[in-house]
């Protein structure tokens, strides 16, 4: 590429100043992992998944999904180098498969990310309620605690966002250390017996394979954010790819080991124990060895982990809406920020309104916050992200079929073809296994509501794109270019279209 080979004759003040702000591998890995929330997955999703599905092959599922995502990432990070707005799946779809599918993908992404977000409110309430009982002897309804967490996230969302980064970073490191320590402690529990079940590869071909894979995908959500920094990494060809593979490997290793240690320590009755103890399983097992202090610390971190995940996802959603608002795909109001802080205010407020609605709905209906909100919402969001990754994989192929650039055969075609085939297989298994995943009767409402919702939203997005093409060609032309493009903003559109933003 000519732009990267230009060699300044003498030290350029401009190049130096811009390079100072550029991110290295560690910073990008850190950012990606902070959206991943390790403790939420290991102590929340894994035991709940064991209880709901009765399936124990989760470790091998984490490893298999890591391999598939790594193969997918080869083409994904390669395309990220060539397009604007690389942080969002819909940008790839818009530029690889056309703008109508791009808008469909953007709406699917909004739905999926919002499902994660509301799921975390349910999880927080359900997990915090018994802990508050234990610590303070007070009985508080789950939804009161969920609303408290919601209010915190809502306030942070419309205020300064920079503060959150440091807090998240500290929490993340403590969390990873704690998951590792508890898992090692599991190895010395009296009933520990190295179990082969979590690592049995045949569980990925048997009944319920799709359910395992979706649970595993849920654990990786956030890895796709690495490419947000394509344009500001130290070395665009190395930093982001390396950070992506490292993050995937770290997540896979940590989760697979933790799940294996937990299942092995619990022994043959692990599923029954998961049903009886829920998320407590992770803590109960290791606390035999580590004692009460570690237990309390673990519990406290579990709650902060959930809050960290909420804040981080809330910000991702608000920025997604901001980007779409800037493009004019969502109302322009979403493209506004608070001038003093740069926080994407309206995207944040909209997310908070949705979160409040869901918490109130579950409270009024008396639905179960742990299984029906946290687990269904989280894995339902996981299905959405799996669909998005699959479509994006096609988009990478479509893009490189038309733009050869300076990428190798493996980056343009080899890995994307392989990744697409694997992802199609996973998507098929996921969609046919929803009953197992949710622990409900085949054909019952939850099994078709989730895929139907994604289908309807995707279709509505496609239709909206066609409406824009007919009525507002200027907006249509900018779909997928994001907030960074000077040709899409409200001002430019107002100049060309005659409408005011």
């Amino acid at each position: 590429m000519s732009t990267t080979t230009t060699k300044p004759v003498r030290a350029s003040q401009l190049s130096t100043a811009l390079a100072r702000d550029r991110l290295g591998v560690a910073a990008v890995v850190f950012f990606v992992m902070s959206a991943a929330a390790p403790l939420t997955v290991v102590a929340g999703v894994v035991p709940t998944g064991l209880a709901v599905t009765g399936l124990t092959g989760i470790s091998v599922a984490f490893l298999a999904v890591a391999v598939v995502l790594a193969v997918f990432s080869v083409g994904y990070v390669a395309m990220a180098r060539h397009i604007a707005n690389a942080g969002a799946f819909y940008a790839y779809v818009a530029q690889g498969l056309g703008r109508p599918l791009g808008v469909g993908a953007s709406w699917v992404a909004l739905l999926a990310y919002n499902m994660f977000q509301v799921a975390s409110y349910g999880g927080f309430g359900a997990i915090a309620a018994p802990l508050f009982q234990e610590w303070f002897g007070v009985e508080i309804q789950w939804w009161v605690l969920a609303l408290a967490a919601w209010a915190l996230v809502a306030v942070l969302g419309v205020r300064d966002v920079a503060v959150n980064g440091k807090v998240l970073a500290t929490l993340l490191l403590t969390e990873i250390a704690l998951v590792a320590a508890f898992s090692v402690a599991d190895l010395f529990v009296s009933g520990f017996e190295a179990s082969a079940a979590p690592l049995d590869p045949t569980s990925l071909t048997g009944a319920g394979a799709g359910a395992l894979l979706v649970m595993a995908v849920t654990g990786f959500v956030g890895f796709e954010q690495s490419v947000v920094f394509s344009e500001e990494s130290r070395d665009p060809r190395r930093t982001v790819p390396r950070a992506t593979y490292i993050a995937i490997a770290l997540i896979a290793g940590l989760y697979a080991f933790a799940a294996w240690a937990m299942i092995s320590a619990a022994g043959p009755t692990v599923v029954d124990r998961a049903v009886a103890e829920g998320p407590e399983l992770f803590f109960n097992l290791a606390s035999d060895r580590l004692g009460g202090t570690a237990l309390h610390l673990g519990h406290a971190l579990f709650l902060t982990s959930l809050i960290a995940a909420m804040i981080s996802f809330h910000n991702i959603i608000a920025r997604y809406a901001f980007s779409l608002g800037r493009e004019g795909v969502l109302p322009r109001a979403f493209g506004r920020t608070v001038p003093g802080t740069g926080a994407p205010k309206n995207g944040s407020l909209a997310q908070s309104v949705l979160g409040l609605t869901v918490i109130v709905l579950y409270a009024v209906q008396g639905w179960d916050p742990l299984v029906q909100l946290f687990f269904w919402g989280g894995t339902g969001g996981g299905i959405g992200v799996l669909l998005l990754i699959t479509v994006t994989s096609f988009a990478v192929l479509g893009y490189f079929a038309r733009h050869r650039h300076a990428e190798s055969f493996w980056h343009r075609i080899g890995a994307p073809v392989l990744g697409t085939v694997l992802l199609l297989g996973m998507t098929y298994l996921a969609l046919t296994n929803i009953a197992t995943l949710f622990g409900v009767e085949p054909g019952s409402a939850p099994t078709w509501v989730v895929p139907l919702a994604y289908g309807v939203v995707a279709l509505a997005g496609v239709v909206w794109a066609l409406v824009l093409r007919a009525g507002r060609p200027q907006v249509y032309a900018g779909i997928g270019l994001g907030a960074r493009s000077a040709s899409t903003g409200g001002f430019t559109a107002a100049m060309k279209e005659g409408a005011q933003p």
Binding site: T6, P8, V9, S12, Q13, L14, S15, A17, L18, D21, N85, G87, V161, A162, G165, V228, F229, E232, N315, R319, F322, S323, R326, G335, R336, T337, V338, P339, G340, T341, G342, A343, P344, G482, A483, R484, S485, A486, S487, T488, G489, G490, F491, T492, A494, M495, G498, Q500, P501
Partner: protein, 217 residues
């Protein structure tokens, strides 16, 4: 009432971006920096020293301008001739270079005062605050009055209005405009602002959006 003389674009933007009572910045440092960066480049375009086309800047005339801040930017551009993408220059000047130049220019004319405040951690924080709330409020009220009276704004004021919109400052200083007045303002910008300067404002908006997406805003 005699109107104060019209200040350079970046000075107008700096004063408008500061609270007239307490002197606090209404914009985050990053957004203010990007806005002032574009304003200085805008001044150079108005001085006919620079041209902007398809995201690339060209130096038309390398003679210094009549004042130091824009001359410094122009000098830097002449030294770094392999960098011509406007987005690189906005990013570079936006790191604090532009804010620094504009603060010094305003301090020289006495329109802002240097204020030192001791922070809790022991360091001193230097801020520049408008010396006079009348002058600080003037640029925005000039726009509001002209729009309300249906008068035409000159080209520098149209760029200024564009930058107020691009940085989100309109949420503070143009909120009183009703829908019709807002429409009139846009109409003027659309019809009377040269394409090159429209593109400039578009880059300002995009740079601010970029900062929001990358969590730098």
């Amino acid at each position: 009432m005699a109107s104060p003389p019209q200040l350079p674009l970046a000075d107008d933007l700096f004063l408008t971006a500061h609270d007239t009572v307490k002197g606090r910045s209404l914009l985050s440092p990053a957004t203010l920096g990007l806005g002032l960066a574009v304003a200085l480049l805008g001044e150079l375009i108005l001085w006919r020293r620079l041209d902007l086309r398809d995201g690339r800047l060209t130096v038309l005339d390398d003679r210094p301008t009549a004042e130091a801040a824009t001359t410094a930017v122009l000098g830097q551009m002449l030294r770094e001739e392999h960098h011509r993408q406007i987005r690189d220059w906005i990013a570079f000047l936006g790191t604090g270079v532009a804010t620094d130049l504009v603060e010094r220019r305003l301090a020289r004319t006495g329109l802002v005062h240097r204020q030192e405040r001791r922070s809790l951690l022991g360091g001193t924080k230097v801020t520049f605050v408008p010396a006079d709330s009348m002058t600080a409020g003037w640029p925005a009220s000039r726009i509001r009055t002209a729009v309300a009276r249906g008068e035409l704004l000159d080209v520098p004021d149209l760029v200024f209005a564009g930058l107020v919109l691009a940085t989100g400052l309109d949420q503070h200083v143009l909120v009183t405009l009703d829908t019709r007045e807002r429409g009139l303002l846009f109409d003027q910008i659309r019809r009377r602002l040269p394409a090159m300067l429209q593109e400039l404002v578009g880059h300002a908006e995009a740079a601010v959006g970029d900062a929001v997406m990358a969590r730098r805003a």
